[in-house]
Structures are given as structure tokens and as C-alpha cells.
Point group: C2
Chain length 344, copies 2
DNA sequence: CTGAAAGCGCTTACAG
DNA sequence: CTGAAAGCGCTTACAG
């Protein structure tokens, strides 16, 4: 199927000038007279000219395109994040080529090589959980392609990265709960083998210890990251017969599972038991009662990562090894009761 | 900042052959001997050659890239949809350039013109709610760029489109509820000015009428599409003192608002009142109890739309004006009680 | 103020 | 089996 695109040459022919004149006029080059520019602009509109950016990119050796690799767009956190990256990129006149790795190392490698082939000006990568081979990243480094990791990073490669300060945020949130009069806090944890799981759990433990509250191992229930894991975790807790005042769930899906399991027993949230999760505002408000969260704002992360990358591309931030840990705030919603001492 | 990319010429120089030989060897052209191919492949790996796809695209006049325009990626429905488009595109070796219109006509136009400038092989567009000017779409048509609308379409332009069959799905779902013994069904509607709002409401009314159930205007509460609209709608309903058995909420956010407002009154879902929403499985299961839905599967829509577009690009489906209405199924989850008559 | 030349990195006929 | 020529649509020095 033949397309109908007009070229600068076509315009030049029509106007009986050289195509260089057209090219210059379109870029508002001082060489060209105002009158000629006007004639050319008119012709461009009349003829429906759309500049071939591919050709422009090839000749400029710059694509004004950023490549993104996310593990999974079905995770709404990443959707918000990508949305925010697109916002920031668009502001700076960059396009976005989006790829998904499905948490598979092979896909990730493929995606990155493809993006390099497309000669993106820079890469924004959240590494898959599987990734162990650093070859493709070393290749990007060798090719001097600016790359910024977000959310998850390979630390020993000296690329810039942006992440949440999970441990500190967790400690801070638990401190607030304790200050609010709570002492019995359980944790539905992820796997200690993942950085998310271990960081969050470490924050939980440290907060308790620093407040002189003994850690009860039976209140740390390692499970996973899905709804069913939250259900199972609560069932396990329920079976012990000793309930905490608060459950800290490792993410919102686990929190949702906890909601379901709690409801089944007839207990009421927040009156009989409170829940705290990690997540972000929009999802938290879908819950009823609204889920209290250690609030990890994906838009903030997206904006920071994209700006960092664009700065590196434009050579503003010279030596590409910046580490940014985003502060996370605690959002106390209706899934946890405020005790009297707090209200006053 | 200078990149370090190797070109075919570099490889040719190293091997003392012509760059055409290299080009042919890389495309596995029969002209080239097996021995030479092997030497070249080796050199490619040793030297870290990554083919410049931009140059390839320019010379082939084909980019193997699809352009997407969605109104908003923060709507998880679109996130799932884009994810599925990427899946399908990747299978067929297409890249994705993703743009977001924020429901703004000007952004949409800009995005499309940019994508055409990037010479995407085809466009996948969900038009913004604002869009009234068809100029940019007529331009795409004139340029013979394959375009497929999804979810929302401009019908009188003869482009292909894929949408959900909202009206029929609604009727079917309500029929099932009625067959299950329910007759008192209220509708928290969107705006009748939007196609989504009017289609769904029309399906609701037709189902009641065809079952001989009178329509009670006070049970059709027009509001909006957000959580707060669901809260307000239930408060209005509650104030009348006459509750239905089931509420049909125009989407999952409105359903979530209804959950909250219902809980506040002390009523229990599903025992005192049941809820049915439009949405998709993953979000529905976050609710507790899980939300019954008229199940609009975004992945299905994404896959169908992408395949349709790719077929048109490859000239398989010749005359680009296919309309596909996706059948929607009813997913009966725990937010609606199954009455005895159904269970048996 | 206008234009001819050379180049970006690839590919596709064509000739030998 | 190998390579020289022309082209994709743009841009950037350079010369007049």
C-alpha cells in the first residue's frame, strides 16, 4: 500500500526553488526572506506536508525519543508511572517507545536491544525480577546511551536511579502508629528474597525495636504479593487466636485479601482491626473503608526519572550517576481508627 | 555527547569487503557464501554492532511501528488495553509509540500529527471525549494511513473500529438478574450526553420493559463517573426511603462510591442490597465482596484492535472498514446474592 | 538572500 | 559469489 506523503522536494518543485530553501524556511533559518518563508508555509499547508521525522532523525543523529522498559503495565502503579513519564517527556518534546518485559530477562534484553537499534536518546528501565545478566546494560554503557533505572535498579553499574525509600518510610509510619497508641502490629510480608519484601520487613522490625516493642515472629507472615496471599495470611493469623490491632500488608492486593478474610470472620475494619498497606492514593480510595497507605506516588517517580534522564541526555547533569531516594509519606485513611490521644 | 555506534561500513572495513556484502550477509541473502556470512556474524558480535533501525526504516519506507493514542493511562482499563496491544504488536514484530491525549482534542491532534511524522505504519486511536473536528482523521485517510478506532469511534469516517456491545450486554445481564428473581433494580447512570452513559442506560430500560417491569424514574440517578458520584447517588436513593434490591453502577468507581455509602448506613452487601458494575475482572476482585460486573475485557479489545490494524497494514484485510462489536459477558461475583431459585 | 555538495546508515535492483 | 550505483528525506557547512 503506497502512502501519499509530500516531501520538501515536492514543495520546492511547486515553488520553483531549491529544496534547501524549503528546508531552511521550515526551520526558520535567518538565511531565508520573510516573503519566501510565507510562500513556503502556505504551500506546506495547502499541500498537506508532514515532515518525515525518520529522515530528520537520521540526519540529526538524534531521535528525540525515550525508550521505556517496564515489567508489566497491568500493574496500575506502572501505568501511572508511564503516564507521568509521557507527560514529562511530551513537555520536553520527546516521544516514547514503550516496551514490556513481563518480568522476563530475555524479553527485557530484547526490548533494550531493539530500543538501542531505534537509537532512542535515552532509556528508562525498571529491571525485571529475573534479571541477573548485566551484559545488555554494559553494552548500553559502552555505547554511551544515557540510562536511568527506576523503582528497581542494578546498583553496581553506576547508572542513575530513582527509588522509594521503603525502609525509612515504613519506620516512620510505624512510629506514627505507635505514637498513636498502637503496639500490636503484624506484618503480612512479601518474600525476603526480593528487595521490596526485605526492605519493608526490615523497616517494620527496626521500628518496633527502636520503640522497645518485642518482635513476635508469629506476627510476621511471609506469603506473596497477591490477593490470595492476603487471605491465607489472615487465616493463619486468625488460627492463632491472638489478633493484633493493626496489620501492615506488603501491598494493596495483599491488603485487599486481608479485607476479604477479615469480613468473612465478621470482624469490622477499622473498629476491630486496622489495616495499613503500601500503595497510592487512587487505588486506596477504591477500598471501603479507604485503605491507609505508605504512599508511593508513581507520578512523582515518573517525573523525577524522566527529568533526570533528559538532563543527562542534554548534558546538563554531566556525570550520570545520580541516586535519588524519594521520600514516602504516610496517608492515614479510614482503615485505621484514630485513637483519642491522636485526635486531641 | 558522542555515541559509539558501529556501522556496516565499519565491519566491512575490518573485513576488507564491501559494505553491501555486509548488508546482504546480515539479511541472510542467498548471494553471500556461508563462510563469508559466518565471518561477518562473528565480527558483528565481536564489534558489538547494533543495526540502525532508523536508517533501515528510511530506506525501506516502513517503520514496523504502531502509534497509539489513548485519552488517559491512569484509567486502568486503558493500561490493560495498551498492555495487550503491546503484546500483540510484539508478536508481529511491531514497536509501539504511545501517546496520551488527556481527553483534549488539541493534544490528540498533535499526537496524531507527530505519529504520522514518525511514519508509523498504522494508528490505534481512542478518540477524546472532546473531539469534534475530524480534520486530522481526514488527513490520515488522505495519506492512506491505516487507522483503527477502539472503544470510542468517529463513525462517519469509514475507519475500522472495535467497541463493546454495551446495550446488549446490559440487557443480557439484567435479564439474568430478573430470571434470578430480582425485579427492583436501580441504575446509577453516567451522563446521557456521552455514548457510554446513554447506551448503558438504554440497555437497562429496554431490559426492564421487555420483562414487563415498569421503569421508576426515581431509580435512575444520573451523576457522573467518579467515586463521589456513587456516594451522592446512594445518598439520594437512601433519602427516598425506598431501596431497590440491586444497584447497577455505570462503572467501577461509581460502584466503589456506592459501597462506601452503603456501609455507612450499616446495610450489608450483598444481603441487604446487591451491586452490579461495569468493569473488568482484576479490579472487581479488589472489592470486598467482589464486585459483580458486566465484564469488559480490555485485553480482548486490545488484541482484536491490534490484529485488525496489522491485517490492514499487511493488506490482508483489504478494504479497511470493519466494525467489530465485542460481546460482553456477565460475571456474577459475591456482591449479588444468588437466590435459591438460581442455585438449584 | 539562494543553492550545490556531501552526508546520516541503511537497502534494492543491476552488472559483472 | 561480490560490488558499484542510486535512493530513502532530511540537515549542515560552504560557496557565491
Amino acid at each position: 500500500m503506497k502512502r501519499n506523503h509530500i516531501t520538501q522536494q515536492d514543495i520546492a518543485d511547486k515553488l520553483k526553488v531549491s529544496r534547501i530553501t524549503v528546508s531552511k524556511a521550515l526551520r526558520n533559518h535567518p538565511d531565508i526572506s520573510a516573503g519566501m518563508k510565507e510562500r513556503i508555509i502556505k504551500a506546506v499547508e495547502r499541500m498537506g506536508y508532514s515532515p518525515n521525522l525518520i529522515a530528520k532523525q537520521l540526519s540529526l543523529q538524534k531521535t528525540f525519543t525515550l525508550g521505556i522498559v517496564v515489567p508489566d503495565l497491568e500493574n496500575c502503579f506502572f501505568a501511572y508511572l508511564v503516564d507521568s513519564i509521557i507527560d514529562t517527556a511530551t513537555e520536553h518534546n520527546y516521544h516514547i517507545i514503550l516496551t514490556v518485559s513481563r518480568e522476563k530477562e530475555a524479553f527485557e534484553r530484547n526490548n533494550i536491544m531493539n530500543l538501542i537499534g531505534m537509537r532512542v536518546d535515552g532509556l528508562l528501565v525498571c529491571v525485571s525480577q529475573q534479571t541477573s545478566d548485566q551484559k545488555v546494560f554494559k553494552y548500553a554503557r559502552k555505547m554511551k546511551i544515557p540510562l536511568v533505572f527506576f523503582d528497581r535498579a542494578i546498583k553496581d553499574l553506576n547508572f542513575s536511579y530513582v527509588a522509594f525509600n521503603d525502609k525509612i518510610a515504613t519506620k516512620e509510619a510505624i512510629n506514627q502508629l505507635i505514637a498513636g497508641g498502637y503496639t500490636k502490629i503484624a506484618h503480612f510480608a512479601g518474600f525476603s528474597s526480593t528487595s521490596i519484601g526485605s526492605e519493608r520487613c526490615a523497616g517494620y522490625k527496626e521500628a518496633l525495636i527502636s520503640n522497645g516493642i518485642p518482635i513476635r515472629e508469629e506476627w510476621i507472615i511471609e506469603g506473596g504479593y497477591e490477593i490470595d496471599d492476603g487471605i491465607r495470611a489472615f487465616e493463619k493469623l486468625w488460627a492463632t487466636g491472638k489478633l493484633p490491632e493493626i496489620i501492615l500488608a506488603v501491598n494493596d492486593r495483599v491488603a485487599s485479601g486481608a479485607y476479604k478474610a477479615i469480613r468473612k470472620t465478621g470482624l469490622k475494619i477499622p473498629h476491630d482491626i486496622g489495616i495499613l498497606g503500601y500503595g497510592f492514593s487512587d487505588t486506596a480510595h477504591l477500598f471501603s473503608p479507604t485503605l491507609s497507605i505508605i504512599n508511593q506516588d508513581p507520578r512523582k517517580m515518573g517525573r523525577i526519572a524522566a527529568n533526570l534522564l533528559i538532563d543527562e541526555i542534554q548534558g546538563i547533569s554531566q556525570n550520570s550517576h545520580t541516586e535519588i531516594l524519594i521520600e514516602v509519606d504516610f496517608q492515614w485513611n479510614t482503615s485505621i481508627l484514630k485513637k483519642q490521644s491522636i485526635l486531641s
